[in-house]
Every structure is written in structure tokens, then in C-alpha cells.
Amino acid sequence: MLIRYRQAADLTEAQVTPRQLMVGRRSVVGWALAAASLLPSPAAVASTWLQGLPRVDTVGETPTAYKDATSYNNFYEFGTGKSDPARLAADFRARPWTLEVTGEVARPTVFGLEDLLRFPLEERVYRLRCVEAWSMVIPWIGFPLAELLKRVEPTSHAKFVRFETVLAPDQMPGQNSRLLDWPYTEGLRLDEASHPLTLMAVGMYGDPLQSQNGAPLRLVVPRKYGFKSIKSVVRITVARDQPPTTWNRMSPREYGFYANVNPAVDHPRWSQARERRIGEFFKRDTLAFNGYADDVAHLYAGMDLKEAY
């Protein structure tokens, strides 16, 4: 793929940032503004470090409405309903936060969130395709996972990367049920993890990630079904062997380890040939590798994608 770095002047901010969250916060701040006009508000600080970043648009379509992207998603840690995460994530504490990177690496490291924000952040507009045949277009803010892996120096034994979501049943009501095996884990092959499209996201739509979207740090692998893009990550383990992953263990016939978006391989319970883009009425065709085939198909050369689904 041609990665186009646009000039800041080319940005269509109106399309990308309906900033309801910040507006909400500022209305509170606004009352105090006349009195405390010399003090910078926390909202202003939060928004400035995510502004004016280099932007890569891989889609070229209007992003999904911010309201939809923050109120309709799967995050079973908060419940099975699509609106459960937005409804039940209010008590989730995304700060302070640490990310532990261990395993087959020369420099095992515990990163604070502040350390992670020092990686070269950029805005990436990606397609998001859920395994349930709905999809969105999201302007993420993050850094390539490859940068993080480079920092910890994987050893020659490193073949896979395992990711783990935080275990916090006091803040995540869904974790008190037996819905899935907690904590949620996911995995990638090392070459998939190191691919430049694979992103560690800390924000979206110009704002820090909302709790329901996987605050403060999540994986984004746009060519794979959404369940691979694990949220609220606290641990990354570089491994020799393919790690077990949550949905794959739950129902291996339905959720493969690879889970690359593939319109030619149906989910046992529904067709994957088409998808409903949130905000659109009728379905549209699903693209091979979610439209990123030119960039990533070579990673799977010689593999039978019907077997390695």
C-alpha cells in the first residue's frame, strides 16, 4: 500500500472529529473559565497532545459517527449487549496504567502510560470489520507495535506475541460471569505483530480512548476481525509457541487464530461475504483482508486460508 502522509493543511477536521466528549467536559470547565482563565483546563491539555499529528487515511471514506463508534461495540468484560460497554464502563479506571512486556525479549520492560505516549504517535484511519458482519471506519491515534517490539528486542526464539487484557472484576462487571475465560487473551505471529499496519492505539477521533473502546491502550489490526484487536492491554508476552487465544479456545470452529477478514470463508453461523457499515442501511461487499490485501497477503503466501481461517 502507498502510505500517504498528508500535510496538516489537508486535514478535514470536520469529518474526523465530532468531539462530543470534549465539548461535554468543557461545558463544566466553562463555568469556571471566567474566574480561572489563566489556568489551562485538563481537557485542553488532553486534546493538545493528540492534535496536529501526522495522518494516514487508508480508507478515503467518511469516518463512522463518533457517537456510534463509542456506543456500539463488543467488549464482553462489560456485558454482551452492544450498548453495555458504553453504559457500564463509567467506573473503569484507565489511569494509572502500566504495560508489562516480557517473554522472549532481551529487555523486558514495564512501561508507564506516559512512556508509551512518547512513541511517535500518528493518526491512522482504518476500516474495522467485526466478525459479526458489521463494520466502521475509525480514525485511531497510536504508534506501530513494531516500534514497541524494537525497544524490547525480541530474541531469536521469538515467533509469536501474546496479549492480555486487564483483569479487574470490580470495575468490569462482565468479568464476574463465566461468559468467557478471563482475562481475555489474543495473539499474533511475530511478523504480523511487526507489520507497519499493526497499531497500538491510545486515542480515536482526536481524543484519548474511551473506556468502552479499550482505554487506555489497545491493539488495532485492521485486516483481522475485530475480536483480534484486544482492548485495555496490560501484558504483552513474546513467545516461542502459538499462544492460546480466548475466542479460539471457546469455539475453535468459529474463531480461528488468524481470523483474517475473508469474504470467501463463512463463519459457521453466517456469511462473511457482506457487511453492514454502521450508518448505512444496506450491506456492502466485504473486502479480502478488509481491503489491506496488497499490504499483508504476502504474509500468508502458501497457506490455505480456508484451513488457517
Binding site: T64, A65, K67, D68, A69, S71, Y72, Y76, T80, K82, S83, W134, S177, R178, L179, L180, M250, D266, P268, R269, W270, S271, R276, I278, G279, F281, F282, K283
Partner: protein, 222 residues
């Protein structure tokens, strides 16, 4: 007096059955269905169809427990409303979700068990709805009509199967429905007597003459 109570009760049930449709229409108009109104419509219409089916099956045990004969007509009211929401469910799936792509719908029906089960349940329920008018009872004969309408139990079980097959993860929902349905179906089986379980599916425990008599009473109450 009992007649007046029955009429009030039936009016209340009818209003209650229309409420979800009203809420849905309101949400549809105001964006209350969320980011994916199609999926929300399919899901909620199906839920209402099943809940009303369970309510329909609850009428007879309630009637026997409280000795309120005049509840009997509610079965038809609830059954027909269950079918109505079933139609909405099927329309949302076929017309909006699949955009009347009959090839895709046929593939879905044949390849995916939960769609197949849903189709079976819907077709049988449609048959019961079509034979619900009083003159159909006369045309079929009371005995045959009764046997035919025992199929409502099959509809409920197949619908539960439909729900189980489309549930993700270890959700409690199908288990709750399963227990509810078992509670509603077990007394029917037990009242018929375990040794004659097979016969119980087709025959009522009461002697034929009282069955016909009760049917006439019920039809008069409608």
C-alpha cells in the same frame, strides 16, 4: 361479571402487546435503536415473539391454578401477537437485512441450523395463526384442531433451539429460557401421566365430551 372481567383483561393484554411495537416505532423515528437499527430490530422483534409465546403457554397453567376459566381466550390473543412479532422478525431479516436476496436466504436456511430452526418455528406458527379463526375450528373439527394446535409446544422448543444456536459465549439467557419453558411444559406432560407420554402429546387428559364442551364455551367467550 366474569364476562366483563375477561373483556377488561383481554383489552389490557392487547394494549400490552401493542406497546413494544409503539416503542419500536418511536425508537425507529428518534434514533433510539442505536448505531445498528437493523440488527436491533431483528433482535427485539424476535425476543417479543418468543416472550409472547411463553406468555401464551403460561395461560393454561395459570387458568388451572387460579381456576379462572375466562382466561382461555388470552391464548389466542397472545399467540396471534407472538405471530405478529414473528412476522416483523422475518420481514426485518428477509427484506432489510438480506435485501430480499433469495439466493442468500436459501443458503442461510440450508447451511445454518439456527436459521433453519427459525424457519420451521415460523412456518408452524403461521399454520396455527391461519387456523385460529373460529370457523377453522368448525371446518377442521374440534378434535383435529386441538391436535394441530398442540404443535405450539413444538414451536416453543424449536424456537428455544434457534436461540441456543445463535448465542455467543456462555450466556445465561438460553438457560433461563430453558428453565422457564420446562416449567411450562412439564405439568402438561405430568398431568397426562408418564407411562402414556406418547399419547399425551396428542390427547388431553379430560374425556372427549368435556373437551368438546369446553371448546364450545371458549368459542362463545371470544
Amino acid at each position: 361479571m366474569a364476562g366483563a372481567r375477561a373483556i377488561h383483561l383481554r383489552t389490557a393484554v392487547r394494549v400490552g402487546c401493542v406497546l413494544p411495537l409503539g416503542t419500536w416505532a418511536w425508537w425507529m423515528a428518534t434514533g433510539g435503536l442505536g448505531a445498528n437499527p437493523v440488527e436491533a430490530s431483528i433482535r427485539t422483534s424476535g425476543q417479543w415473539a418468543f416472550w409472547l409465546l411463553l406468555a401464551c403457554l403460561a395461560v393454561t397453567p395459570t387458568r388451572r391454578l387460579l381456576r379462572m376459566t375466562d382466561l382461555a381466550p388470552l391464548r389466542r390473543t397472545l399467540g396471534l401477537f407472538s405471530f405478529f412479532y414473528g412476522v416483523l422478525h422475518v420481514v426485518c431479516y428477509g427484506v432489510i437485512d438480506q435485501a430480499l436476496d433469495f439466493g442468500a436466504i436459501l443458503t442461510d436456511m440450508l447451511k445454518r441450523m439456527h436459521i433453519g430452526a427459525g424457519v420451521v418455528a415460523f412456518v408452524v406458527l403461521a399454520l396455527l395463526a391461519a387456523t385460529s379463526p373460529r370457523r377453522m375450528v368448525v371446518w377442521l373439527g374440534a378434535m383435529r384442531w386441538r391436535r394441530l394446535h398442540q404443535l405450539v409446544h413444538v414451536v416453543a422448543i424449536v424456537t428455544l433451539l434457534h436461540i441456543c444456536l445463535l448465542t455467543k459465549g456462555r450466556s445465561a439467557e438460553p438457560w433461563i429460557y430453558g428453565v422457564l419453558l420446562a416449567l411450562l411444559l412439564l405439568p402438561r406432560l405430568l398431568s397426562a401421566g408418564a407411562p402414556r407420554m406418547a399419547a399425551a402429546i396428542w390427547h388431553q387428559p379430560t374425556p372427549p365430551h368435556s373437551r368438546a364442551a369446553s371448546l364450545i364455551i371458549e368459542s362463545r367467550q371470544r
